[in-house]
Symmetry: C2
Subunit: 344 residues, 2 copies
């Protein structure tokens, strides 16, 4: 098999974007050997402009892109537009890692649409565009015959999306349940070990697990968005966040806390989709589960998803690094799988 | 997307073959709608000959194929050869469900080679050909650009192979551990609940979980073969059964039994592959694991595999029906995924 060059444009240089640049460099040789792909980072955008180069951009070029060093970086082009790069470079993969805005989806939504319309595949860790216009983006991808992959947005290193889409193909998925947010699961795990909520949250923040503003995680919205992405992609639904009942872990009813303290019980924040007759119901709920539940042992920052199917029974996937490196690995995996199967 | 006809030839009509014929019929419409594939069963072989038809063979045609009814089945052709069918029908997928002979691989090995050489994709639930000549078969598939998929042989409805091959692409897999045999796990689970070995085995046989001759399962060989298939496919190794140390559950050392009785411990039969420096070691071992192990909760006939990777951390998949219907669902899934990505 001949080696193939794949041009990559990266949008956003936060923690996941930086981890992705580093991973690309670390894995370049392995990907070349094992998959015959030569992954070439051609442009990296952050607010105000981007790096753009005719030859592959290296990790060291990017690390020099601090605010102070921008003007001195020979590859830096202030005000560089995504369109310019997409037109000048032979189409490959646009990797979207800008901030997730769940209300407008921007600026990611525009990036994803532009890339697909210009013949680029898209791999995204940004939930915003998918939460706002999943159906529309899938339609563009279908029409332009481009891949739109989003493991990095759905559950990152936990292959919940792959298992649902590919491993369960041909089955009827009757229901899906998931522990989809590492921060709230960490807090619940510490609470089961005796901590109070505030204490467990402070500890999670001190360890860098929880954000300074943890609302999205502890109020259940991060779980809700991931559930929505999985349900829409895997079960072919058309859920919106506003259709879902969403509980968080900030004010846990005392009867749930005492129920969960019993031997062989655990309190989890579960995203759930289930079918009742021909209707699907989705939401995020504080749930007490027992030892026989496949997600019972998913503790700390770990995540897990369990699918109940007609033909394959119950299939569960758990684990996967909950950090920027795990998300970067999910982006790389999606890129490899696009070219493994897509001959375009 | 236009509908596409996929011709299917089935070799073997044991429990898995029968379940596959039934599943094809049940899922025909769903597969047509969701994946635009028209799966047409064109031939079904069993010892002595086969059914062969210009129009799709239905489940009722096959159910009439009892020994008494053979001569009367209008589609039955005594002495029908696979070559004949492969030459007369436009290439699609050969589904191999004959008996797994781990020593010679036959007759499956010949079927798989013939199909690939004649331009047919192969999906197999038969471990024999892969255990005997994995490297050779992969070589033929690579040369002829045909797919050789074997979820049904590796762990069936448990997507251990998909996760390892696709979801972990780009990572380094440092080790793999699996509960890969439902029968031995069922017996160990019953023993943990107080049964003796013989009692638990008899119970498993009465329930149809264990075979009348349970040697392959309880002596660890079924686990060893599945481990070998997973390790060779996912980790790119070239293991042979004779390289592996294989323990079973027939004579469990008393110190292990008492160790496993402690609170928060469990005795499992684990297939393990791990890397020490640049060397890989593989084997099947009776192992006491504790509550924090991701396979701790895998009880009864359930199976599970856990991968330890550099970039994605620990990823575990558990569950999946351990019966002929689960294996048939894995065969169908493999067929769908061949045509989802392969444009040939």
């Amino acid at each position: 098999m001949g080696k193939r060059t794949v041009n990559i444009v990266l949008m956003g240089l936060g923690n996941v974007g930086k981890a992705f640049v580093q991973l690309l460099e670390e894995k370049a040789e392995r990907v070349r050997q094992q998959f015959c792909l030569d992954l070439c980072l051609r442009a990296v955008f952050k607010s105000g402009g981007g790096l753009f180069s005719a030859s592959p951009i290296r990790q060291k070029d990017v690390y020099e892109m601090s605010a102070a060093g921008l003007a001195r970086n020979p590859l830096w082009r202030p005000g560089l537009a995504l369109d310019t790069v997409l037109h000048e470079v032979e189409p490959g993969v646009m990797v979207e890692c800008t901030f997730s805005d769940l209300k407008t989806g921007e600026p990611g939504l525009r990036h994803v649409r532009t890339a697909l319309e210009n013949g680029w595949h898209v791999v995204t860790a940004n939930k915003g565009p998918l939460a706002v216009d999943f159906k529309g983006l899938k339609e563009i991808a279908g029409r332009t015959c481009r891949a739109l992959r989003f493991s990095g947005a759905a559950a990152a290193a936990l292959p919940a999306l792959d298992v649902g889409l590919y491993s369960l193909a041909g089955t009827d998925i009757l229901s899906m349940e998931g522990i989809l947010n590492g921060t709230s699961n960490y807090i619940l795990t510490r609470m089961a070990q005796g901590s109070g909520y505030s204490e467990a949250l402070r500890e999670a923040q001190a360890k860098g697990i929880a954000e300074p503003d943890p609302s999205l995680d502890v109020e259940g919205w991060d779980t809700a968005v991931k559930l929505l992405l999985l349900a829409n992609a895997v079960m072919g639904l058309d859920l919106c966040l506003k259709d879902m009942k969403v509980e968080g872990i900030k004010a846990i009813p005392s009867e749930l806390l005492s129920e969960a303290k019993k031997e062989g019980q655990a309190l989890k924040l579960l995203g759930k989709v289930s079918r009742e007759n021909e209707e699907f119901k989705a939401g995020v709920f504080l749930s007490v589960i027992n030892r026989s539940h496949p997600l019972f042992g998913v503790n700390g920052t770990n995540k897990g998803v369990t699918y109940s199917t007609d033909g394959m029974g119950v299939v569960t996937v758990t684990g996967g690094k909950s950090d920027p490196c795990g998300a970067a690995a999910a982006l790389l995996k999606d890129i490899i799988n696009i070219y493994r199967w897509n001959k375009n």
